[in-house]
């Protein structure tokens, strides 16, 4: 229970920071809280937010998928290539999603059937898929996507600063949150992440679950690829380069333990919003990308350092208390 208490405290800290940044930004920068700006800031987050959902599930389970950005790029390149060849966009979307599923399937099979560590596998597939993206589209770009679709990807629900992709994300986030925190499946994910062998012997179908998670991750990454392409109106093989690191940064900042077994989806969502709004605020105030980069890096380090330091502090306190109680017990 104290573990849950500790988690809640982390998640509350992140949410508090989010509120502080928002309030500070609104007060400090006059245009920050306008519908236009917020809409753009949220829209910019679409892909990161979407991919963060299955990534959270994976990390809770003790796995990681570094190939998501490459799947995004591959799907973007394929979208462009097929569009350029004259295919209808209604056909392109399902085909591209299927490719995302296949990519995830490859990851999942390598991890479950061959027992390879997901870090190594996804570094390999990350390189492979990005390479395939370049083979598909080279270094060129395809534009001229239909206006009705690109407009859908960039405009907001009228009257609110919530872009359509983000609204979709909200729905998916609720669904993921329910699965993670309120179903048996979710509990088994935590179990696998905490102690895989014990979960296996408790009857949890570990391999099946991992495979499904990787497939879902590939599917969502593929979908994010389509959203990215439509949002920028440009399909390129190098779309999303480096995105996976931002997603992982968000997941870790959200309080999910990298070794698995701990974390909340709410924390991750708060962290995603925090990173997005902070970036937007910094840009609005002409803080250069260099400093933004430094800030992201520091946030990341602090977010993993703090729980460890707290744990170390608690350990030493516990040891000292134990010694004290042992001494006081030995006296009479």
């Amino acid at each position: 229970m104290s573990r849950l208490g500790g988690l809640l405290r982390w998640e509350t800290a992140v949410t508090a920071l989010l509120i502080v940044v928002f309030a500070g930004g609104a007060g400090f920068s006059p245009d920050f809280a306008s519908n236009d700006n917020l809409s753009f800031a949220l829209d910019d987050l679409s892909e990161i937010a979407l991919i963060a959902l299955p990534m959270t599930l994976l990390v809770v389970c003790g796995q990681v998928d570094l190939s998501v950005a490459s799947i995004l790029g591959l799907c973007s390149a394929l979208t462009g290539r097929m569009w350029d060849a004259g295919m209808a966009i209604e056909t392109i979307i399902p085909v591209v999603l299927a490719v995302g599923v296949v990519c995830g399937l490859v990851n999942g099979l390598l991890v479950t059937r061959l027992g390879l560590p997901s870090l190594a596998v996804t570094i390999g597939t990350m390189t492979l898929y990005r390479g395939l993206a370049y083979v598909t589209l080279g270094t060129g770009a395809i534009s001229d996507f239909p206006f009705s679709y690109t407009d859908l990807a960039t405009s907001s629900i009228p009257g609110t600063p919530i872009p359509y992709p983000v609204a979709l994300f909200a729905v998916l986030a609720i669904a993921t949150g329910v699965v993670l925190h309120a179903t048996g499946i979710g509990r088994s994910l935590f179990a696998i992440g905490a102690q895989e062998d014990a979960a296996y012997f408790a009857g949890i179908r570990v391999k099946r679950i991992k495979l499904i998670l990787f497939v879902v991750s590939g599917l969502v990454a593929g979908f994010a690829g389509i959203v990215y392409t439509l949002r920028y109106g440009s399909a390129r093989a190098d779309n999303g380069l480096g995105l996976e690191l931002t997603v992982i940064a968000a997941v870790l900042l959200g309080g999910v333990d990298f070794d698995g077994g701990k974390g909340t989806l709410g924390g991750v969502i708060a962290a995603v919003l925090l990173i997005g709004l902070l970036r937007n605020l910094l840009m609005l105030n002409d803080v250069s990308t260099e400093v933004q980069s430094i800030v992201t890096g520091l946030l990341l380090i602090i977010s993993v350092l703090t729980p460890r330091l707290i744990a170390v502090a608690r350990e030493t306190r516990g040891r000292r208390a134990g010694a004290r109680s042992a001494a006081s017990a030995a006296v009479p």
């Binding site: 570094i123 390999g124 990005r130 390479g131 992982i248 990298f258 260099e290 890096g297 990341l300 993993v304």
Partner: protein
């Protein structure tokens, strides 16, 4: 009070089967490196048949020069990966050092040794930060080095401010380091090979070197065996950082023109080279020689594609496939070896019990 005068299973003590177990592991690892060498030979032979210019003096020199820096980084990365950690910040460190050392060299008339020391010092500082965070604060290496990647990259851009160092501004001594050589062999590969041999020898022949492998194989067992894990991991990061610093200065010397994002994105190439070279990402296995061969292989593939007029875009895809192949093969090999070792240790236990049952019962019973 019971006293055991002979410990039950001393490795190598009884000779025979247990020693054979160790020999088996060595054989497997050697075969792994041979396979990369073999692949390299096949690749080069095939390409030379297609285009004889490939193995001309200029061609070979180019490959070795291009690979030198990657090999240097791979050697440092090996030391880290062997302990079951990773260092993703190397690319940004190279960029930062290349630019800073360039500004330093251009500013005054320092000798080449001073510039080298300057670069290595910056690299050591970065390695220190990584090492302290990973070993003493016990933060996962992936996360720490990801964070330092961002921070160092940002610092690099900040210092550069859009400028670039031109070859014209650098003292001739620095440029000659990158482009000249002794007896026709360029300095760069000489330095790289020397470093590789030094680190390789240390890891293999010194007990403190072998402890790196112990940490990667089983941190728990290493801790119980009294290995100073924190110090070793810190050393690994210091070496990785120092070598990245050295690589940065060599980059400056070789290319002359440097912008802030030199070696941007190289960390993944380095990790790929190391994994392809037989260093398991889970630690405990692999040598710097394998990693060096892996780096050489990846660089050669790039040149081969260009010479064969194949679309260079295939390079990443091929590297990815090689990586997956390497990981799978290593895993299967590891399973085989474990099974074989277990088999042999069972056999040796049986052998011992059958051969000398009596003398073992020296324990007195009080």
């Amino acid at each position: 009070m019971t006293v055991l005068t002979e410990s039950p299973a001393r490795p190598g003590g009884a000779g025979g089967p247990s020693g054979g177990g160790r020999r088996l592991v060595e054989l497997v690892l050697r075969a792994r490196e041979m396979s990369i060498l073999g692949g390299l030979v096949v690749l080069v032979a095939g390409t030379t048949i297609a285009n004889p210019r490939f193995l001309s003096g200029q061609g070979v020199e180019d490959i070795f020069l291009n690979a030198s820096i990657l090999v240097l980084l791979a050697v440092g990365q090996t030391m880290v990966v062997v302990t079951r950690n990773i260092d993703l910040s190397v690319g940004s460190v190279v960029g930062l050092v290349a630019f800073s050392a360039g500004k330093f060299a251009a500013a005054g008339d320092h000798g080449v040794m001073v510039v080298l020391l300057f670069g290595v010092a910056i690299g050591l500082a970065c390695g220190l930060v990584n090492g302290l965070l990973v070993s003493f604060c016990r933060v996962p290496a992936l996360v720490v080095t990801l964070g330092t990647l961002y921070v160092i990259q940002g610092l690099g851009y900040r210092i550069a401010h859009g400028q670039q160092i031109g070859a014209a501004e650098l003292p001739a001594s620095v440029l000659s380091l990158g482009n000249d050589g002794i007896l026709g062999v360029p300095y760069l590969p000489i330095i790289t090979v020397a470093v590789m041999l030094a680190v390789g020898y240390y890891l293999r022949s010194y007990s403190s070197g072998r402890e790196f492998y112990a940490i990667g194989s089983s941190p728990e067992a290493a801790r119980l065996a009294g290995v100073p894990i924190r110090r070793r991991v810190l050393t690994a990061y210091l070496v990785s950082g120092a070598l990245a610093g050295l690589a940065g200065v060599l980059w400056l010397a070789r290319f002359g023109t440097v912008v802030a994002d030199a070696a941007h994105g190289w960390e993944l190439t380095v990790v790929s080279a190391v994994v392809v070279g037989g260093v398991a990402i889970t630690g405990g296995v692999g040598t710097v020689y394998g990693a060096a061969l892996g780096a050489l292989l990846l660089t050669t593939i790039g040149s081969v594609l260009v010479v064969l007029k194949v679309n260079s875009f295939w390079q990443d895809a091929i590297t990815g496939v090689l990586l997956l192949l390497a990981i799978s093969v290593d895993r299967l090999l590891a399973l085989r070896v474990t099974r074989a070792l277990r088999q042999r240790s069972l056999e040796s236990a049986v052998h011992r019990d059958v051969a000398e049952p009596a003398p073992r019962r020296k324990e007195g019973r009080t």
